[in-house]
Symmetry: D2
Subunit: 137 residues, 4 copies
């Protein structure tokens, strides 16, 4: 890992606004703040360009509902190539939260999402988009 | 307007990835690319912090449906303080697109959106979030 | 236009929650509320599936900056096939808001966005996604 | 749990479009498809209205970077009230993916996100928004 240093020229008032935001968010340095914006934009690009990415699919369901556990397990086994691991949380007596860590190209992840969404009895499905980190040194 | 120049230290490989993105998007300079990311993040902050902002509300409807034109006009007059102007486009024989330019604090704009969405016969409503530019020199 | 009537079976407690939301949002009927959700999901599908769609691009800029007006005009003329019309608002002495109504397939609209974003001096660009209404009776 | 049955009146062509979408997504019944749209809209409302919700925060980082593991652990312990559990995945020799399951009101979750984002050396942070399921029977 080598560090490069480059300079940026911007309106003073814009930099002042940005510095206030950095301070409010307790970001330690301006370089980190700029780096974070750059990394966020590159991760968006990875998803749009169809690169290999990672994600977390969050499922919430009532485990008493018919055979939902078996169905979810079946879908996950069918997609085992893209599923890394699963974290299960007992939210209360009825409700479960299951977080499925996935890795693959965006269309493959979309397809797992679609199959999970089609399972009867699911209350909610959502996705957090991440990066493998390989192209984000 | 005065320009300031500051330097940023980041991993070389990250800067290389960013430079490739800049080139693909035909962004003229690295300073503009960094400035664009900073401005985008500040506009998000303006909306979250409840500052005065601007927006464009896009309505699509079939003007033949009952008294939809009168109803939309009534809502817009009730909200005339926040509505700057309206652009009307005849998409085809039936469908109209109306773009309502709005200015105000986010909760006021949300409230206009809610009132417009409640009008019977509307096909779709969406919002583009903008900035007054005052805090974004 | 013909109306069909179909029935939906759902948990009572879910329907109660939905009814409260409908009332808070002053939506006149449950049919309209369900129809709105269906239309929103179909418009998302239109964008993902690459159908012909409409949109509004919101630009904010300081018209004093170099030759920004000429540059924006040039890009818009180059893309005249997809641009329907433009609404210009004088936000204050310096800042302009320009709302560009566009129509076309999503990649074409993305390409206009990319070209506009590359113009030096722009403060902010955003997009509201809409529908031509043709497939949303 | 009791099921209610209600009827919805909508344009035939709209219902036809929706049925095609249901079929493409292999959703088993129209009731489930309508229920899914209703549940998604209610989860959005829970987050906007500041109800207790759940989420998954996805962190990606290079564990070799300075003392990042200790810093992330410290933040997570400071926020232990809202953090349920953590799943750790070794993406490759350098990169780690950590999925933090959280539960609380949205401002509390935002505050954890802000503290995690401020940690130096993180490559990316994202959030999937979920529901406790309590108000979504």
């Amino acid at each position: 890992m080598s560090i490069v240093r480059f300079s940026v020229s911007l309106d003073k008032a814009l930099v002042d606004e940005f510095d206030q935001k950095i301070q409010r968010e307790q970001c330690p340095t301006r370089s980190k703040a700029v780096g974070d914006l750059i990394r966020d934009s590159l991760v968006q690009t990875e998803w749009q360009a169809g690169k290999e990415v990672v994600g977390a699919i969050v499922l919430v369901y009532d485990h008493h509902k018919s055979d939902i556990v078996q169905r979810l397990t079946k879908v996950q086994h069918d997609c085992h190539d893209a599923i890394i691991s699963t974290q299960h949380i007992h939210l209360d007596h009825d409700n479960c939260m299951e977080i499925v860590a996935v890795r693959g190209k965006p269309p493959g992840i979309e397809s797992i999402l679609k199959r999970l969404k089609a399972v009867k009895g699911l209350k909610h499905v959502s996705l957090a988009s991440g990066t493998t980190g390989v192209r984000l040194p």
